[in-house]
């Protein structure tokens, strides 16, 4: 699926409220433990290793926390088990094969054993491919999951976005520079 369409379908406009759909609503309720000592419930260990690399490439740690600091891999694993239909789960499982297939054919190695720049190159190839694909694609899926679980995490809310615990009074026109970035709930909300 083209990313744009995925987002369109996940956004609800009604009575002035435009928020991400159930996915991020559900995700925002989770506060994942960023520990490594957890047992995956949907992916196997090798797949988790790939997703860990992919999540880190999509939202790396910079001077602020990245996807791995926010514990997105655990969230994605749990979400795949709990939120998706059997058909969607099968698509994800099938799509996951692309990483090792592409790295084997280009480098005769598994994805996680590549240098970071080669991992990024393959991810970019998949990103380009996803734009030409109608229907689901593993890159769009992983990106949506990483982005949604990262930007709804406490780590992102407190360090990357603007967290306003009590938003209250509406001011329709303020200088962006006075806040500097998106509000923590800013998935695209009105």
């Amino acid at each position: 699926m083209k990313r744009r369409d995925a987002i369109k379908t996940s956004v609800v406009v009604m009575g002035g409220a435009m928020t991400m759909g159930s996915l991020s609503a559900l995700l925002s309720g989770c506060s994942p433990e960023p520990s490594l000592s957890w047992t995956p419930v949907f992916f196997d260990k090798d797949q988790i290793a790939i997703i860990t690399r992919v999540a880190d490439l999509i939202i790396p740690k910079t001077d602020t926390p990245g996807a791995l600091d926010a514990g997105v891999v655990e969230v994605i694993d749990q979400a795949c088990k709990d939120l998706f239909s059997a058909e969607e789960q099968a698509q994800v499982q099938e799509g996951m094969k692309a990483f090792n297939a592409m790295s084997q054919s280009a480098h005769q190695k598994n994805y996680v054993d590549l240098k970071e720049e080669d991992q990024a190159a393959i991810l970019q190839k998949l990103a380009d491919e996803s734009k030409e694909t109608e229907g689901p694609h593993i890159f769009s899926f992983m990106k949506d999951m990483v982005v949604a679980s990262f930007f709804t995490s406490e780590a992102a809310a407190m360090n990357v976005l603007n967290y306003d615990p009590i938003p209250t009074r509406y001011e329709g026109c303020i200088e962006l520079s006075s806040v500097g970035s998106l509000w923590a709930e800013g998935s695209g909300s009105f």
Binding site: R4, I7, M20, L123, V179, L182, S187, G188, F190
Partner: protein, 256 residues
């Protein structure tokens, strides 16, 4: 009422007209358009707003707004804001640059979603299914409701007029959308015990009283004769207040 049968009301309480359970209506929606507005990049907003914008019905009000494909009409609910982290980032698909850009507000956008009227149709109805009982031994409800030609014709303009307005207002990349909508999704179900002057064609009178049993008032959304296109709760409340006022007056006069 359907479940309250007697010798006097063999087809359900107050159902002399056979209108009980008929004319189920809901609002059809989940379609419209959105667009982007250039500029104002250095401006943002803060806090919570109680509501969005509303555009009242502008079709079929008089001769000059008469539509040929459908009767009655629709209104728009919507709002504006800035795109957030779920948007596409042109600079990068992923990585540090993507992360930084995604944390900034994107374009200003405006969305309009149409809410349309569904006409009352006698064959859009609920009936009791005596052969499938629930765990209390009560018959279950069978719902048989669909949109028809008037709704489908209206839906075309519900999308196109939204796009036209955004376009005329100077929005860019205006796109229409239709996420599909079944009866029930509007969660504004109403009808099934409509009011009317004639007991032969309606269940309730104008004070929400059952025609054949004036001491019974039905004040939920079932009294509605047409759905209009607005959110319904305030209308239900107004009619309920009016029915209660009438009941008190009649009681005081000793008529009830």
């Amino acid at each position: 009422m359907l479940n309250s049968k007697s010798d006097r009301f063999p087809n359900g309480f107050g159902n002399d007209s056979d209108q009980l359970g008929r004319n189920v209506m809901d609002h059809h929606f989940r379609l419209g358009a959105y667009g982007q507005l250039d500029g104002y990049e250095d401006q943002y907003f803060k806090g919570r707003r109680p509501n969005g914008i509303y555009i009242p019905r502008f079709q079929n009000l008089d001769a000059s707004t008469k539509r040929k494909d459908y009767i009655r009409g629709f209104g728009y609910q919507g709002g504006g804001g800035r795109e957030g982290w779920s948007r596409n980032i042109a600079e990068a698909d992923f990585g540090a640059g993507f992360k930084e850009a995604a944390a900034q507000p994107g374009n200003w956008t405006m969305g309009l979603m149409a809410f349309g009227e569904c006409l009352p149709y006698e064959d859009n109805r609920v009936t009791l299914n005596e052969s499938v009982k629930d765990k209390y031994g009560q018959p279950t409800l069978t719902m048989d409701v669909e949109w028809k030609e008037n709704e489908y014709n209206m839906r075309k303009e519900m999308m196109s007029a939204a796009a036209e307005m955004l376009d005329k207002a100077g929005f860019k990349n205006v796109e229409t959308y239709d996420r599909g909508c079944n009866p029930g999704l509007g969660i504004h179900e109403m009808g099934t015990a409509r009011m009317g002057r004639d007991p032969k064609t309606s269940v309730l009178n104008k004070y929400n009283q059952v025609h054949a049993a004036k001491n019974v008032f039905v004040t939920d959304g079932s009294f509605m004769t047409s759905a209009a296109c607005q959110n319904p709760s305030l209308t239900y409340m107004a009619f309920t207040a009016r029915a209660v006022d009438h009941a008190v007056k009649e009681l005081n006069k000793g008529n009830l």
